[in-house]
Amino acid sequence: MFYREAGDFKTSYAADNQTFPILFDRYRYYFVLFVGVAIIPFIINDYWANSILIPFLIYAIAAIGLNILTGYCGQVSLGTGGFMAVGAYTSYKLMTAFPGLDMISITLLSGAMTAMVGVAFGLPSLRIKGFYLAVATLAAQFFLIWLFNKVPWFYNYSASGQISAPERDFFYFINIPVTGPNAESWAKYLFCFLFVFVLAWVARNLTRGSVGRQWMAIRDMDIAAEIIGVNPLKAKLTAFAASSFYVGIAGALLFTVYLGAVEVGEAYGITKSFLVLFMIIIGGLGSIFGSFAGAAFMVILPVVLRNILTGTMGWDSALATHFEFVIVGALIMFFLIVEPHGLARLWALVKEKLRLWPFPH
């Protein structure tokens, strides 16, 4: 009934190759965009923005970034937290050094800076693979955090080593603050939404183009890929660069828009690397939709659980927190047993079912 190809005639190659070839899927996508741009900004309040939607959008960017590297190119990385910190500190230095700069430029520059750092730490991937590469990226994680703690220049010699985001505008002719305490929730939300939309669109098109095919060839079997003419140096380093660009932007937004003040060891520690890795494993490796699903699962579910357990059921907050760990952990195991390929695969199966519903064979 739903998701049927019938009646949707393609008359050009472009139409045939579009991301959402099924009419119903396309409408659903437009609908989500419409709700995201034209409805949510008008009804959003501070709680929804700061506790649910903004962290979801930011972690979705990080998950897409790590998915490019791990899901599409097959290079396991545990350095996500460190790369996010690079993005955050670049933003901080740019914000304080160039007070006139707008947030879009700052965020993009932070991504570019992180891409360069990512390439530098991606060089060992040409020699080492699998678990060994994971350990090498783990070293990047610890080194970067140590660096930002150790060198006072990065935090402008403040007494506490904390960095905090001053007020900056959306874009140079859009004078709406998106950082700092006076930023409106809808502005912060739309700013993140814009980045998520553009970056997800770019990622989708990168991964199905020639670059993405090279990444996937390397992932599936690097020797075979090399024999058929894929340059592993280029493929791996572009994957590291693109991935770090995304992760850096996520780290920058986490600091500037979401948290406002950051303690590097706490906000960008090893737990953050694992969190993003779990997102893509649960969401689905090698899937853009999976990145969104994983981010939603890891960010929104704990908040929902907390609200139900303490708000609706009136549990003690400590007990609720302990149970939150139990329930989220159990759900992760359940999903991985039922569907090892993640929520993205589950979604694909649902689509298959919906197509036949209500008259299955």
């Binding site: 501070d46 709680y47 700061n50 506790s51 649910i52 962290p55 304080t96 703690n149 403040s158 007494a159 506490s160 080593g161 904390q162 905090s164 001053p166 007020e167 700092g180 305490p181 006076n182 979401y258 948290l259 406002g260 003040a261 950051v262 303690e263 060891g265 706490e266 906000a267 520690g269 939603a296 929104i300 579910l301 908040v303 929902v304 907390r306 609200n307 139900i308 303490t310 708000g311 609706t312 907050s317 400590a318 609720a320 927190t321 302990h322």
Partner: protein, 426 residues
């Protein structure tokens, strides 16, 4: 899935919508994670004192108090969520008990017009009320604490620390790094050598730091620790047979649970305390009205412990500020901006403390528009193997050292954020 979550959250929010006309004191507590050992007694003390006011006096000025609790697990992201979820209930004052969360809440609370009370933690330069209009850190701050420790050591060493070495063992976070600037200044002034030893979150790994202490044998080890870090440090000090009376913690590193696991071997370990210990009439009343009535926030076992007492002291200061605000504005149901005025006009005297059943729990102090920091005085206490014993009376910090640092740091903040001094016109 998402739709379901949406419905569930909407339902949860709708169910938790506030009943108006209470005095709301949100408690951003942490009863889980590596810092829970300190978070639990503090949160219990805070909530129990508010319950006592409700049960015994019918609230503050006739208005019932309410303490909605939100679990942060000492994590800044959860702290933000807690702030947003409790703010709408008419929160009067926030006390996050975490320096990291404090740094996030300073700009937010100021923009939202809600006062933030960071009692003996948080951003030290917030003592300058000229710049930080909505942040209060009375009765003391970290720079005061560092200065108090050095003053006490000066007294023990006949006024000179020339040539001595002091190692600072600190939690590698904003919290632990705060005293460094003061200690550096003091080190230049008094001629002692300062060694800095950072311990990373959560603080269980301290082997290297103690190896260095063992090798270099500093004359004193000063600790800025919290949570599990304190217990590990005390254990390590005992392991290398460091003379315990030369090992001094700040006021967040001197509770029963920090030393109880080592017990008698830790005897001699000293720490600061910003509130006096011992039996106070208020404990009997809490026992009677709160714990025996089954209204305690925890299991009641923490009553009278160091951090329980401090949580209760924090609640007492908040309640007195609310009372002051009620007097200033002549209304019983105050809001956050009135609460701020009350905090700024707070005057804690011996009579006030006596009346609340906690005579001499803290120093007498007055808050003004310029000075949000209180006196900064602290006592020195010592673990005798079974209990904490008060060693000294309240020791004053050296304001001539801390005050310029406060001015300098707050001026930098004011410049970065474009803040005009708020006290000038009044």
């Amino acid at each position: 899935m998402k739709k379901l979550a949406f419905i569930a959250v909407s339902a949860a929010i709708a169910a938790g919508s506030p009943a108006a006309a209470d005095l709301v004191f949100p408690s951003l507590s942490y009863r889980t994670g590596p810092y829970a050992a300190g978070g639990i007694p503090f949160a219990d003390g805070y909530a129990d004192y508010m319950t006592l006011l409700n049960e015994r006096d019918g609230g503050i000025g006739g208005v019932i108090t309410r303490v909605p609790e939100c679990e942060t697990a000492y994590n800044t992201e959860r702290g933000v969520e807690c702030y947003e979820s409790t703010r709408g209930e008419g929160a009067l004052v926030y006390q996050p008990l975490s320096t990291g969360i404090t740094y996030q809440l300073i700009p937010r609370t100021t923009a939202d017009g809600i006062p933030l009370h960071t009692m003996g933690y948080g951003r030290t330069s917030a003592a300058n009320g000229n710049v930080f209009s909505h942040v209060f850190n009375y009765p003391g701050n970290y720079w005061d604490a560092a200065s108090v420790i050095v003053n006490q050591l000066l007294e023990e060493n006949d006024g000179s620390l020339e040539g001595q070495t002091i190692a600072l063992l600190y939690h590698n976070s904003a919290y632990g790094r705060e005293p460094i600037r003061t200690l550096e200044t003091l080190s230049a002034q008094h001629g002692f050598e300062l060694t800095q030893l950072a311990v990373d979150h959560p603080g269980q790994e301290q082997g290297n730091q103690w190896l260095q202490i063992r090798r270099e044998r500093p004359d004193y080890v000063v600790m800025w620790g919290w949570g599990v870090m304190n217990q590990v440090a005390v254990q390590e000090a005992v392991n290398i047979r460091y003379p315990m009376e030369n090992f001094i913690g700040n006021w967040w590193a001197g509770a029963e649970h920090d030393v109880a696991s080592v017990g008698a071997d830790a005897a001699g370990y000293r720490s600061l305390n910003m509130n006096r210990l011992g039996d106070m009439p208020v404990f009997a009343e809490i026992q009677e009205h709160v714990i025996d009535a089954g209204l305690a926030a925890g299991d009641g076992s923490n009553l009278g412990s160091v951090l329980y007492t401090r949580g209760m002291y924090a609640a007492f200061l908040a309640a007195e500020a609310a009372r002051t605000a009620q007097e200033i504005h002549g209304v019983a149901e105050i809001d956050a901006s009135m609460m701020r005025d009350g905090m700024e006009a707070l005057n804690i005297t011996d009579e006030v403390m006596e009346a609340a059943g906690m005579p001499g729990i803290g120093p007498e102090f007055t808050v003004t528009c310029e000075d949000h920091g209180g006196t900064g005085m602290a006592i020195m206490q010592q673990w005798d193997g079974e209990a904490w014993v008060t060693l000294t009376d309240f020791i004053a910090p050296d304001d001539s050292v801390t005050q310029p640092l406060v001015e300098e740091d707050s001026a930098q903040y004011a410049e970065e954020n474009g803040i005009e001094p708020q006290c000038a016109e009044s």
